[in-house]
Each structure stands twice: as C-alpha cells, then as structure tokens.
Symmetry: D2
Amino acid sequence: MAPDMQSLLDRISAAMQRRTDRGAVASYIPELGQVDPDQFAIAVATADGKLFHAGDALTRFSAQSITKVFTLAIALGRAGDQLWNRVGREPSGTAFNSIVQLEHERGRPRNPFVNAGAIVTTDELLAGREPKEALAEILGFIRAAAGDDDIHINKAVASSETRHGHRNFALANFLASFGNLKNTPEKTLGTYFHQCATEMTTVQLAKAGRFLIGADKGPSLVSQGRVRRLNALMLTCGHYDGSGEFAYRVGLPAKSGVGGGILAIVPGKASVAVWSPGLDHNGNSKLGTEAMERLAREMDWSVF
Amino acid sequence: MAPDMQSLLDRISAAMQRRTDRGAVASYIPELGQVDPDQFAIAVATADGKLFHAGDALTRFSAQSITKVFTLAIALGRAGDQLWNRVGREPSGTAFNSIVQLEHERGRPRNPFVNAGAIVTTDELLAGREPKEALAEILGFIRAAAGDDDIHINKAVASSETRHGHRNFALANFLASFGNLKNTPEKTLGTYFHQCATEMTTVQLAKAGRFLIGADKGPSLVSQGRVRRLNALMLTCGHYDGSGEFAYRVGLPAKSGVGGGILAIVPGKASVAVWSPGLDHNGNSKLGTEAMERLAREMDWSVF
Amino acid sequence: MAPDMQSLLDRISAAMQRRTDRGAVASYIPELGQVDPDQFAIAVATADGKLFHAGDALTRFSAQSITKVFTLAIALGRAGDQLWNRVGREPSGTAFNSIVQLEHERGRPRNPFVNAGAIVTTDELLAGREPKEALAEILGFIRAAAGDDDIHINKAVASSETRHGHRNFALANFLASFGNLKNTPEKTLGTYFHQCATEMTTVQLAKAGRFLIGADKGPSLVSQGRVRRLNALMLTCGHYDGSGEFAYRVGLPAKSGVGGGILAIVPGKASVAVWSPGLDHNGNSKLGTEAMERLAREMDWSVF
Amino acid sequence: MAPDMQSLLDRISAAMQRRTDRGAVASYIPELGQVDPDQFAIAVATADGKLFHAGDALTRFSAQSITKVFTLAIALGRAGDQLWNRVGREPSGTAFNSIVQLEHERGRPRNPFVNAGAIVTTDELLAGREPKEALAEILGFIRAAAGDDDIHINKAVASSETRHGHRNFALANFLASFGNLKNTPEKTLGTYFHQCATEMTTVQLAKAGRFLIGADKGPSLVSQGRVRRLNALMLTCGHYDGSGEFAYRVGLPAKSGVGGGILAIVPGKASVAVWSPGLDHNGNSKLGTEAMERLAREMDWSVF
C-alpha cells in the first residue's frame, strides 16, 4: 500500500533539511549566488487533483532551464515537426553549455534542453514577433498550466544574465554563423534570458507540470501524443550529461534548472517539483535528486 | 479497446514485407552480409503468458548487441554496483564503436551498451574463469529466460568477427592501456565475439525478454529494482546514438543489435521482439524500428 | 648561380596568369566575394634594398590575417612574454575559426594566428585605450615597416565583417566566458575587424615584411631575437591547418590571409609577397602557394 | 665570433649536471623506468667533419621515436610520395599517442612522427618482406649514417614494449579497421617496437644525423630536396604537441624520443644530439631542450 503522501513528504523534507552536504549554489550571476543554500521544498500535484507539499514550498526561486519544457511545448505547437529540422532529439554526452558538438554537427544542437537547443527553440517561438509578445505567450502558458497568475519574470535576474551571458552569446553567434538563427543573437537571447528568469514556488511548479501527466489528467494544453514525446525528451535529455544517471536512479522523466529546481512527471499519476539550490557537478540539484529518488522508491513510482 | 494482437501483428508484418526501402544489411563480416534482407518478423510475449508472432519469427538470426542486456544482468548479479566503477551510465552522443570519448574520459566507457562498455562488462563477467565457463553462464541465462534450450552460438560468426574485429581490438587494447581490462584483450574479445554470435529466433528473443517485464511477471531472474534499472539503461542507451530518437518515436526501453533484431519491453505488460536485417545510419534495424513504432501506437504502449 | 630575379618573377607571373584552376574567392562578405579572381601578383624586397615585382603588384587587396603578424609584433613589444599567458604557441590541428580546442583548453587559444588567438592579441594591444589609438599604432607600424604612408583601412570591409562576423563574435564571447578578454567583445572585435581590413599592394606588403628578414637587414622595428620567434610562429602556425604542408613544400616562414595574400620571409635574404584571390580548402591562396613554391625552388631558398 | 665549441659544451654539460629539476623518466616499461635520471650528454658533429661532445656521451640509451626520422627517410626512398596517401604532413595538436584525430580523420594519421603515423611508415617499409629484413635495412641505414656498425637493437626493451604496448596495439588495430595497414598489427608492431628499441650513444646519434645537414655535407643518403622536407617535418611535428614551443625557443628542426634523446639539425652547419632521461609533460627531454636552447643561442644557430 502506498504510504501517506503528506507524512512521506514531511519525512523527506526533514531529512533533507538536516543535510550538510548540499552541493554548490550557481554563482555565475550574483542574483543566483546569493540564494540561501539551506532551503528545501517538495510538492506533489496528483492526477486526481490533490496537492501536497513540505519545506519551503511557497518560496519563489528561479526556474531557469525548467522553462525550456514549456517553451518547447509552445514551439512544437507553433512549428510542429519543422522544429526538428533545426534541433535534434538525442542526448548530448557533453555539458549543457558545450559548443564542441555544435561545431562537429554544423550548428544543429543535439536537443532542445542543452543551452544551444533551447536558444533555437526560443528563436523559433519568436519568429515574426516582438520579445514582449513571445514572453507573454510563455508566461501565459505557464500560468494556465499552473492555474495561477501570480507567476512572474524577475527582470533583475534577466539583465544580470545578459551582462554575464558570454557563453550563451557565443552559442547564439555560433548558431547564427551556421544560419540556424532567425533573429539577431541579441533579440533571441534577450527573450531567452527573460524566459529563464521566470520565478515560481515549488507548489506552482508542481501544478504547472500537470499537463504532462497525460491520460487526460491535468489541464489539456497539448495532445496526449505530444505529452509522451515531451516526457521522452525529458527522460533522455532533461538532466544534461546526468540524464542517464537520473533515469537509472529515479526512473522518471524530469527537467532540472540551475536555480536548483527539478520538475518530474509520473505519467498518469502525478507531477512532482523539488527545489534545493545546491548543485552537483552536472549542474543538477543535489538534494533535489536525492529527494526525488527517495520519493520514487517509497511510492514505487517509475516508468520502468 | 486494444486491437486483437494476432491480427495487428499480421497487418504490421504484411506491411513490412511489402516495403522496398529496407536499409542496408551489416556487411563488416561475410556471415552477416549474406543474410537475405527481405525478411521480417515480430513476436510478443505478454505478461500473462501468451505468445503471438508473425512473419519469419521462427528463423534464427544473430542477436549481436542484444546479448549485452543479458550479460549486463549477469555481471550486475556478480559484481553489483562495483561494475559502475568501470563503466558509466550515460548516453554517449557518439557512434557505437567510437573511441573518442574513451580517450577524453580516460578509459571508462560511457555505458554498458556501446561496444567499449560491453567489452568491459564481458571482461568483468569473465574474471577468474575460462571463456567456456562464462559463455556457459550467458547461454544458460538466456535459455532460462527464454524457457528454451535450443539457443546456440554460431561459431563461424564468432571466428569471422575475430578475423575482422580490428575496431574492437582497438577498443579493448585502449581499455587495457588505461588499466580497465582484467583479462587479455584476446581472451575478453574471444568471449565477447562468441556472446555476440548467439543466435535466436524472434520468438525466442521475445520470450527471453520476459524477465524484464517486471512486476513479478515473467521468470524471476533479477530483482524488480534491477529490472527497472536495466530498462532505464535500455531506454537511454539501447539504440546507441539513436536512443533519443527511439524514445521519442516509440517510448519503450529497447536494445538493438546489428543483426537487425530489437528487443523492447512494455513494463508490466509485454516483451516484444522484432527482426529485419536492414539497418539505418545508426546501425539499428530500419523496419524493426518502424514496426515497433506502429505496434506501440496501436496498442497505446508507452512508458510515458 | 641564382637566376635573374626580374625575369624569374615575370615567368612565374605569366605562368600563373594562364592558370584556370584558381581556387575559390572568399565569399563570406560581399566585399571580398566581388574581387576578380583572375589576378596575380608577386613582389620581392631583398635584404640589400632591391625591389622586384610582376603581375598586378600595384593593386590593393585586403591583407586580412596577414596583419596578425604586425599586431603580434606590437603586442609582444607592449606586453612581452606576458602575452603567452593568454595564448599558446602551438599549431592547432584544426581550422582557423574552430572553437573546439578553445573549449577543451579552457579559453586559451593555441596560437596568435588562429582567429581566437589573434582576437586575444588585439585585445591585449587595446588594453587601456581606444580602438582609434590602437588602430593608429597598427597602421603606423605597418607604414613604417613598408616605408610608405599610403596604406589604409577599408572601412566598408570592416563594417561588412562586423555584420557577418557571427563566428568571430562566438569566439570572442567564448574567450570572455573564460575571462580571457579584457575589453568587451564588441570593442575588441571592432578593432580586430578594422585591423583585418587594412589594404595593401603586393609591393607594399613585400616591403612591410622586411623587418622580419633579420640579421640587421630591413627596418629595425623589433630585436633579432624577436624576429626569429615571429618567423618560428609563422612557420609552424602561419597557414592554419596547412602550415605543415607549406613548410614541407616551400620551407619558409609565411603568413597567409583570406584576401589571397601571403607574406613569406627568407631569413637574411628577402621578404616576398604574393597575391591571388582564389583559396584552397584551408583558406590559403592556391596560386600564391604554388608561386611561392616555384620561387623558393628556383632561388634555392629554404630555411632547411 | 662563435665561442669555442668544446668549452661551450663543457659549460652546458656542467650546468645541466648540477640541475635537480630533471623531469620524470618514462616508466611505461620497466627497462626505461630504471634508467638513472642523473645523466646528461651532448654531442655536435659539424659539417666540416669535426666532432665534439661532453657529459655521458658514450653511454647508450634507447633512441625510441628518434628512429622515426630514419625509417621515414627509408620509406620515402621506397614508396616516394605515395606514402602521403597514407599519412599527412600536419602538426597534430594532440598528444603523441592520441587516437581522437584518427577517428575524426578516418584512419589517416596527421604526420609520420605521432605514433600512429610512425606505425604506418613502418608498415609501408615492411611491405612484402619479413620484419628481419626491414629491421636490417633500418639498422643498416642508421649505421651507415653514423659511420659506425656498433649500433644495436635491445631485444629486452622491444619485448617489454610488446608486453606493455596496449595503446600502440589500439592504434594499429584502429588503422587496420580503416584499411590503412598492409600487414597484421602484430607484424607491424613487432617491427615498430624493435626499431624503437635501437640503442645509440649521444655521439653516435649526432653522427647519424649528419645526412640531414644538407648542402652536400655529411653522408649523401638522401637527396637535398628530401633533406629539406625531412627537416621541415621535424620542425613542425618533431616534438609532438610541443613542436611549436621548440621551434619558438630553439629554432631548429629536431626529433625527440621518450628515452630522453633529441636530434637537432643546423642546416648546412651541424648535427647535434643531446640526451637526458627526464621528460617534460609533452614527453620531450626537459634538460635536453634547455641545453639545445642554450647551445643554439650561444652559437647563434637558428633557421630563422
């Protein structure tokens, strides 16, 4: 019999709060580096509409790369399979911000979740309109998915990313040099940095993930076929060069962000969000991963 | 309502038999190059003990890399998590026989399904005994899994692989140069080539895969936890640098072999085998992949 | 006995004018793509002050990467060996605009003649002042070396490079992401593009190279020790991934530019310039290389 | 005025003997690891037939990769420019035993001095005959060049290389997998390991290098044109991924060996050999390089 969810989340949260080896908080921009590492939150939104949470689950954090799931869903809705002419669907085998494979493969990023691929996705989503419109659509999608309008972009974070985003400017210019950017690097990255600066609470993130539960559970924002494909991409590519490890240990499709959040999907059953700012060497939340592993094991949740 | 399985397999088989664009048969050894490309087979072994098949499902073919699933299961049983000191669990992002990443990562292969990783797995399984004993264990495991003793190694194929196996000798010697081989390259590769030369029918392969259905279905050769982890590795790494694509299109853990076979698992429900000798550019069965995609879609089978 | 220089240059020029396989003119910016490919020029400035030329030797062309020799000489004069903390002295083994090695070697370019290394050199030369001042110094150095003030920057070329310079913006931002850029990418590249847009005639280029003849011949702009080191770098790195080939065939230190020019040095004897706009697959002048090979052979000129 | 050669060598030798930071002796086979690191020798054979030496110049050491110069000279004599279909003439930008570029460039090594390229050269030289015959030709060439028959192969070193040569077996098998090996890996490597195990004194090595002085000095074993091309290859590729550095600091064509020897050529003037077993991080003799740098500076020897 499945354990009582609330008491399970409380136990996991308490265990994580006690931990001292919490990984390193991302520090490439001051706004992220100042986040208190001693925070932890977990939230579960179930297919039958229940919501559970524990820890700092009402504290906002920077969603960062987790937003790539939402923009991918929107871009596929707009461009359909044409998007795959510009970006692949394979794990990269390299770091999230690597440029090596982009040179070997002549400007076509490996998947939509490494930085280069997400820049292409945002660029596709921008086509023919202003950043403001595209960002409104992204934010609108996330708010609709979460059923909560109190989700916003932190502009200080976005402009700090712009000031320190040399690596992403390198990627965007590299893409442009291969003709794989429809807008200027500045315009696409401006949008990309704002999208990444979306802030959510752990509860909001869990709710926003419900559209990926599938099987007609959660808000019906995309078709069941697309839900499955998004989950497939999350499982194979969602944790960068730690995706195989996460699949092995946790067994659920998931997407991490450098702000310390992870969104994981239990198909047909639940959407789970965890947050803890300290990261492992692949840039994924250290305690978040452990919490997910424990939750999945105790709930007997796995796609396998 | 799920369609009638037998008629579905018949329809898929008939459609595949009519196809003219069948990919290219592996030709690096004469024994594989001579296989008639106009063959196709599909077989399903369900969790409740039923068996369905269509096409050339009683014709033997060379299992090749599909055997890596069985040797990995045995090696994990013998060495436990120690095996992961020698080989990783991440998709490679490169071809099945690439040596590049092995140099960058100092002799630790990315996962047990690329050639280098499978050589390490076989090497681990050999430790302290003769090839004959190790091969007897591998064959014994496969026969027990399939519930069929009429599964054998084709020695002509094995010795042809040895004569033409320069790339694998390069990989094995490279591993040895980093101290990641316990036996001589000749001994480990001798065993590896024999293991890969195991022949099965499509029906036998579907039956042999039942132990990965999990949930106490099929023969209980490994624990449920290990079943899930093997499936996770198959999903993220089982199709080499086409794993992301297979996950996206089919959504099931699976392992392909250069002989044209694919073993796919529907957790809790079924083990599926397909076979068609023509390969795509990643070395995976072209029609086999298409047949799996169609079967999964019509049966609404997906882990996502 | 050495052949008569003027008649030798006339013969080489006539032979090259007749050639129809001239390589492809660089076309990444319109200004270069419109250059008439049917041009050829050669000029020799000897250690004893004589000047010979043949062909279109009074036609201006875009010096492009050949200017990297002059900026390197200036940067070494300003920063001394400190420059080598920021850039290496080894052949790259990759294309002139490759970013791969830059990632593997964490932002330190292989040598000052690949694009990334030249950007670092220009950045060093800029430090603490405005582009206008740095460019004045570069132009002043080249004019002094050539003994000719009629050498200018083509601003239309410079701004076209800026508009089409995505690959260089990628390199500069990548350098910045590793902390190996002292100025903004825009400022450094603005200077770099203007420097590359310097125009010279083949005669002016031959004269500008005299300071590298060494042995107290030519204008004494740098010490004899530094002359040797500049020549060493030109020989090992001056033709990008064709440097070994040029050393093998011609045997002289030399630097090529994408505008089709080559400056070669015969230590103690002469400075030679050739120009023909068509390029080989490494981006070096096709007929220029052949002309240099023939001149060197007939004059028995080689450092080896 | 040039300094007195003998007293200069004595001073250099004395300075080197006092040094305590001597680099690390190669230890991949026991025979090399046991060499006393506190040894140093230098010898100069001039174009006018004089011989000077200092230090342990009559002690034999393992020539190792320096023999690649001699086998290349022989192979070019036998195969002519056909050899270049199998191996390139460019610096590699990677370690001497790297396999990465071999995969990217489909089995054609970058140059004849990296291991893979030297294996191809030996393979070419073997074609159609037994290792014994090929080795007799190599030894005969070296003895003729040195004017000294007392030069031998150390069979204990050769067989130790065979036992520990996994990396070279990887390279040879990799070459074979691309069809770039005419003999079996075992046969070619057997010859290669014996060739590398040739032992010489520093005096013998300096004398053996005289055929590369050119300008009709030294024994006339190859044409003047080929002398220049061999020197060009030594300058651009002779010190592996430290070739640019050696050219910059010393300015002479040279070839190093992992036994601690370096052969350098002063075209038209002298052949120089140095030996000190400790190596730098690129696998080149640490004190040998410093001694060469000092000798070249004090003699004003440089090709540039």
